[in-house]
Structure formats: structure tokens, C-alpha cells
């Protein structure tokens, strides 16, 4: 059975259903590290970390950036609840580079008024976007 390895995958963001379909493997970053999930995984809920997500399809791979959210794994179905998800073509490379610079400057300034954890999140987001835009 060729299609035995495929599971249902849905990626949902607050604004839209980002992607829905059948995939053979899903790679992504979680708070505990990088994981790759195949069909018939034990049921599990994990927290997403910002990173590039790779969806393995029949003969091709799709990449997307996801930032924050969680993922629910059932043996034959995976739901990714991402707060933000973007395809490579949706990313504005210049903007991401600017954001990276801005965040880095903020972190280096050591200004007590600046929320460092927020700047760190901004920096991570920018880095993920840049990484993905290079894959285009």
C-alpha cells in the first residue's frame, strides 16, 4: 500500500487555513528541539518554537516559516496551530533584514527601558524569515 505512509495534516493560523492535505512527514522546531513526525506517532501535544517547517509530500517538499503556537499529534492526523505561518514567497527579505538589525541593536543597547525578551523574539523571527528566504 503506497499511500499507507500519508497522514492528514492541517496547519491553521488565526487568519486562514494555511495548508491542508496529505503528507508523509513533517519536520519542525519545538520547544524541546527539532522533531520529524511520521504516521502512527503516539498522541502528543508539543509547543512550537520559531523555525522553518518542512512538509514532505509525494516527491517534493514544502517549506514554511512558523512562529509560536502548538502542535497536536494523533496517529493519523496532525494539527499545527501556528500564530503566524508564511510561505517563502510571502516573506519580504529586505524587511526581515531590517528587523534583524533593529532587534540586534536593541539587544546590544542594554537599555533598561527595552524589553529584551521581546527583542529576542523579534530577532528569532527575523532570522527564521531570512533563513527561509534564502531557500527560495
Amino acid at each position: 500500500m503506497a499511500d499507507d505512509k500519508f497522514f492528514d495534516l492541517e496547519i491553521i493560523t488565526p487568519d486562514r487555513i494555511f495548508w491542508k492535505g496529505q503528507a508523509s512527514m513533517l519536520e519542525l522546531n519545538t520547544s524541546e528541539g527539532q522533531v520529524g513526525i511520521y504516521k502512527r506517532h503516539i498522541p502528543m501535544t508539543m509547543i512550537l518554537a520559531p523555525g522553518v517547517m518542512t512538509i514532505h509530500l509525494e516527491g517534493e517538499n514544502k517549506e514554511a516559516a512558523v512562529h509560536a503556537g502548538f502542535i497536536e499529534i494523533l496517529p493519523d492526523k496532525i494539527s499545527v496551530m501556528a500564530e503566524i505561518a508564511e510561505w517563502p514567497e510571502e516573506i519580504d527579505e529586505n524587511r526581515a533584514r531590517e528587523a534583524e538589525q533593529r532587534a540586534e541593536r536593541r539587544l546590544q543597547a542594554h537599555d533598561p527601558r527595552i524589553d529584551t525578551s521581546r527583542a529576542e523574539v523579534a530577532l528569532k523571527k527575523a532570522l527564521v524569515r531570512l533563513e527561509l528566504s534564502k531557500m527560495k
Binding site: D15, T45, I47, G69, M81, I84
Partner: protein, 289 residues
């Protein structure tokens, strides 16, 4: 009977009011289409979030987590979502009535007001308004919901507030909008959903959590709240435009009715004055001959 000139003036002024209400109706119809589509797009995320949290709670009856219990504080935060502009029928007052008519005491309410109308009402009545977000309602974004949620949770964790409520207008369909008061924290889901989730959990293998359940709840519950707040924001905007469209529609048809009535009155007055003039001329002619 009013003079012809008075009637005419009144009719003209109603006609120009009607033009305004007609234009407003058209504008809100277009806005409704847009906001309605947006509310529908955010539904799957919200529904999934709700079912995830429900199934987590169903299995985690024993979990002792601060987000699942009321704080000691008697203060209750209410996130109030109203519009910035009026002329939307009962839209704003229905949400306000929901808060004033509930068992929440004015002294214990801490308001987070999204939209000006609700804020103005409660400000006049000396409620405590902790924060206001007037510009958010124009075009709600997910980051706005996050900001509100972070602020409320910060106060909750600091023990300054004991419970969190959300008052908004649920967009059922284009004509039905229901004001709702939801309890956000401590997390509460509908009893029947919880029972259904328990049943489902019984024949499913146990859900695992990575990181540990309690840590996962720490992350997932704020996300759940953010998604509810975001969903409420987009639905409230859709409801607002729906309510305004209805209000303007009935205003336009009321104006139409008034114009018809005044036209009839005007014609009657015109006829009356002609009859009177004729009678006077005939009477004058008779007097001469």
C-alpha cells in the same frame, strides 16, 4: 395646519437625512462583507483551540494549575468590546446592558475597554478603567489580542484580579448578533463538551505532553485566551457593521415613510390654499356685481 413652506422645508430636511442613512447603509454593507469573511476565516483556528483545551481539561482533572483556579482577589477583569462610533442601533447598549445587568458588582469590576462607546459609558459611572484600546476595533490584529491578553494575565498572575470575563457581540449570522459574557479565567468550558471529550478520551490512547502537562498548560492557556479575544474582536467588528446596516436600513425606510406622509400633507395644503383663493375671488366678484 402647518403652512406649505414649513411642510416643504421639513420634507427636504428628511430627504437629505435619508441620503446620509442610505450612504451609511451602503458603506456598512461593504464593510460587513469584508469583516464577515474575516470572522469566518478565523473560526477554524478558534474551534480547534477550543477542542484542544477541552480535551486537555477533560484529562487533567487532577492538575493543579493557577490558570484553572480563581485567585483570592475579589476584583474581576472585564474585557469590554464595543465600537468607536454610534448609529448602530442597539449594538453598543446591548453589550453594556449585559455587563450592568450581570451579577458583577460595580466596585469589583476592572475594565479593559476596547472601543470608545463602552468606555465613555462606564467612565461616567465611575467604574475603574484599567486600560483602553480605542484604535484596536478599527482593524483588529492578532498582536492586539495578544497585547490585551498579556496585560490581563500579568494582573491575574500578580494576584490583582481574581477572574477574567469577556463581553462582546457574537456574530451568529448577518441578521442575528448576540451579546455574550464569557468567563475566560479560570478556564471554563461547557459541561457537555467536557463530557464528550471525556468519552472520546476513554477510547483513545492517552495524550502525551512535551514539555510536561503543567508547562504545556502555561503556554497553551494564554494562547487559548488570545485566540478567544481575537475571535471576539473580529466577530464584534462584523456584528457592529451588521447592526449598523440594519439600523440604517430601517432609518432609510422610516424616512421614506415620513416623506410620503409629508408629500400627502403638502399636496393637501396646496389644494386647500387654491380652494381658498378661488373662494375669495368668487366672493369678491360677487360683491362687485
Amino acid at each position: 395646519m402647518a403652512s406649505m413652506r414649513d411642510i416643504k422645508r421639513r420634507r427636504n430636511s428628511i430627504a437629505s437625512t435619508q441620503q446620509i442613512t442610505k450612504a451609511m447603509k451602503l458603506v456598512s454593507t461593504v464593510k460587513l462583507q469584508k469583516t464577515k469573511a474575516r470572522a469566518e476565516r478565523s473560526k477554524p483556528y478558534f474551534d480547534k483551540m477550543y477542542s484542544t483545551v477541552t480535551s486537555m481539561l477533560a484529562k487533567s482533572g487532577t492538575i493543579n494549575h493557577p490558570y484553572l483556579k480563581a485567585n483570592k482577589s475579589a476584583k474581576k477583569a472585564v474585557i469590554l468590546i464595543t465600537s468607536n462610533r454610534g448609529l448602530a442601533g442597539g449594538y453598543n447598549s446591548n453589550v453594556i446592558k449585559l455587563v450592568t445587568g450581570s451579577e458583577l458588582e460595580p466596585e469589583e469590576v476592572v475594565l479593559f475597554a476596547v472601543g470608545n462607546k463602552g468606555k465613555e459609558y462606564f467612565q461616567k459611572r465611575n467604574y475603574r478603567i484599567e486600560k483602553e484600546y480605542p484604535e484596536v476595533i478599527e482593524n483588529p490584529m492578532f498582536t492586539d489580542a495578544k497585547e490585551i491578553c498579556d496585560e490581563v494575565l500579568r494582573l491575574f498572575s500578580a494576584g490583582e484580579i481574581g477572574e477574567i470575563y469577556l463581553a462582546y457581540t457574537y456574530f451568529k449570522n448577518t441578521v442575528v448578533h448576540e451579546p455574550q459574557l464569557l468567563k475566560l479565567l479560570p478556564v471554563e468550558v461547557r459541561e457537555e463538551d467536557l463530557a464528550a471529550a471525556r468519552e472520546k478520551a476513554a477510547d483513545h490512547t492517552l495524550m502525551n505532553y512535551e514539555p510536561e502537562e503543567e508547562e504545556a498548560l502555561d503556554v497553551i492557556i494564554p494562547k487559548y485566551m488570545t485566540s478567544i479575544i481575537y475571535g471576539a474582536l473580529v466577530e464584534a467588528v462584523a456584528s457592529e457593521n451588521g447592526a449598523r446596516m440594519q439600523a440604517m436600513d430601517s432609518a432609510t425606510s422610516n424616512a421614506e415613510e415620513m416623506i410620503d406622509k409629508l408629500t400627502l400633507q403638502y399636496n393637501r395644503a396646496r389644494q386647500g390654499s387654491i380652494t381658498q383663493e378661488l373662494t375669495e375671488i368668487i366672493a369678491g366678484a360677487n360683491a362687485i356685481s
